[in-house]
Subunit: 390 residues, 2 copies
């Protein structure tokens, strides 16, 4: 039932320990659900209550700490030996209790003789709240705390062969969903009904790969709402002469392959047609530039060189690294196609090139998920890169 | 396009200001996406980057602060006047920038003369990270900070008539999805294909109510995996003599109506049949107890009086308040059916009574979303309360 061989998990943990040692950390408290899954395999919809994977430089295996009712979830999905699963009772959760899960975590560390450790915590990761940190500091007055935000994320940057297999399966699921989107978005169809068809295909997946739930619901605004970057569907019916864009991901074993396409119901006005052409030309240029040794900011510069020629501006980044993730988003947070990001591309890094252009009263997004190859890049999915006209 | 009348939003803001005044707060930084939506109407899939709604006792209207590419999302979904939407450029996001969105928030407050305010922050709310708080304290050395976790959540406890309308629509969507689950879960069907059918109906919704994305993906383990509380589907096919439980919510305009049902494919063993009967009997007893004036812990006690009789234990809470929410969960965090919670039930509070019983190698969950009425309670959805045998 494990998503990866035990040896792969152990290699990830060892890489993490090396990073910890380099930064002087004895203990790492991993609370980002994606990082928890990466190191332990843990995969459950339980990240709405506090949980953690604890890596210690003194221990071979990480320890999962979670809610008692999730203990079986950990035993079913993690690779570690029994004895490395520590569950807290509900008593530690919510008011009016005076206990907090971080007290339980602190007691665990005290029991292991680690109360005076130098501890890495993911200060700016989702779910690691300000309160958790205040409580930990109070509970462990002799501990030292270091910011470990992105420490594990960075290890996730280059994908293993098995991870690439999963991302390609995610991409195959994505292709199916995107074809469905292009097919069902038509005048007179309720937006929610189109979303339902897309969801169906993303979850059903392909004959050889069942879909997992994507970390973000489909973004699929229409008309004027396409001017914003993160609106979903409504109950309204699509109308003639309406622009629609859809952005969603296929997901397989928590690995994501996102993509956006833009659809016009009717004859697109020249401004939209022209914008779409520029976006595709810029995206193609970015992809030609994407190869080992290039930097993230160079990819963005290549894109910008095209759009500037046509008088189009894009204020936001035009891409980011992707892979394993949990809600609320499928990005990995470590690399961004934008000025100043000098991260160097390597084979088997994966990115979502996201040239969405929001122009006030309409937006166009035509994007690709790519893998860096030995001498260039390839798209994860195969889907026509154009404005679709219905 | 607003989900509620402007007057309803203003009443919510005024209630918030009253609570702020009572606690001595000049400014409230609302970062929980559900609380942001409740006060401003803001509804977009953008909570993966920092954003906030700022309420000041000195200002009539709250101010939305978010990413520039989401400005149109705010203008499309919020009720406030133009001028109350403040957008930050991408420059404030991610490494290698030296700026953080909290610097932008702090500059905004300085500009309004509020740098020395007493400020409420939602210390233990999702997405308010430890880093955000450290940065705010550094940026605003003259400000005072108070913990405002759950301040707005508590105002959300009693639902307005319009909110109840939305929750009932969510429940109608839920009924459709649950019927689909009972229909499609059969021997030989891939779990992902069943999940796809369920998702389809939850998103398509009913003829009069299109579904919104639920805050949590369907929880639907089978066999031994039902022993854990938060596992989803796999790619495997359902087998004969297998237990399955499903827990998911209908969602309408971000209001949720969750429910769980348990299905047995084949002839259920006596232990499972008996557990299901006890769960239903305990749930019925809890519902008989649920009325205005009763406390949360009394509801749990009524449930426990039944299951204890049969030698069944449940360590975790057996219910919680529900309503408006965003990922990662549909709970409201303020009331819990468990010992010690003396919250008093009032008409138009809404709860998910969640008597899930996890017994090691199997679990049974048969649950109801309820509304407290003038003299008792009613379920939001109508669906047979029993073990389904296929």
């Amino acid at each position: 039932m494990l998503a990866f061989e035990k040896t792969e998990y152990m290699a990830r943990v060892n890489q993490t320990k090396e990073q910890m040692a380099a930064k002087g950390m004895d203990v790492l408290l991993v609370t980002d659900p994606a990082n928890m899954c990466y190191l332990s395999g843990y995969d459950a919809l339980s990240f709405y209550t506090p949980q953690a994977v604890v890596v210690s430089t003194q221990q071979d295996q990480p320890v999962w700490i979670g809610r008692f009712q999730d203990l079986v979830c950990a035993q079913e999905t993690c690779w570690m030996d029994q004895g490395n699963f520590i569950a807290y009772p509900d008593y530690y959760l919510w008011e009016p209790t005076e206990k907090h899960v971080m007290d339980f975590v602190a007691d665990f560390l005290k029991g292991k003789g680690l109360a005076g450790s130098v501890m890495g915590v993911e200060m700016d990761a989702y779910y690691f709240t300000a309160f958790w940190f205040e409580r930990l500091k109070k509970d462990l007055p002799n501990a030292g705390f270091l910011d470990a935000t992105l420490l594990v994320n960075r290890i996730r940057a280059v994908k293993s062969p098995q991870e690439i297999v999963y991302m390609k399966k995610a991409a195959a699921i994505l292709e199916k969903g995107m074809q469905r989107a292009v097919d069902v978005i038509n005048e007179g169809v309720r937006e929610c009904d189109a979303a339902a068809e897309i969801y169906h295909d993303l979850i059903s997946g392909t004959a050889s790969a069942g879909g997992d739930y994507p970390s973000l619901a489909p973004i699929m605004p229409s008309g004027k709402r396409t001017g914003g970057a993160h609106l979903t569907w409504t109950e309204e019916k699509y109308q003639k002469d309406q622009i629609v864009y859809v952005e969603f991901a296929g997901c397989y074993k928590r690995y994501h392959a996102p993509m956006a396409r833009t659809i016009y119901i009717g004859n697109p006005p020249p401004e939209i047609e022209e914008t779409a052409k520029v976006v595709v030309e810029g995206l193609n240029m970015a992809m030609e530039t994407a190869k080992p040794g290039a930097t993230c900011e160079e990819i963005e510069r290549a894109w910008k060189s095209v759009i500037t020629k046509y008088g189009i501006e894009k204020e936001s980044r035009m891409g980011y690294d992707i892979g394993l993730s949990y809600p609320p988003v499928w990005m990995q947070h470590t690399m961004h196609m934008r000025p100043g990001d000098k991260s160097v591309l390597k084979p088997n890094m994966t990115f979502h090139l996201m040239p969405g252009v929001w122009r006030g009263d309409f937006g166009v997004a035509i994007t690709e998920s790519i893998r860096i190859t030995e001498n260039g890049c390839e798209t994860l999915a195969a889907f026509p890169r154009k404005l679709f006209v219905k």
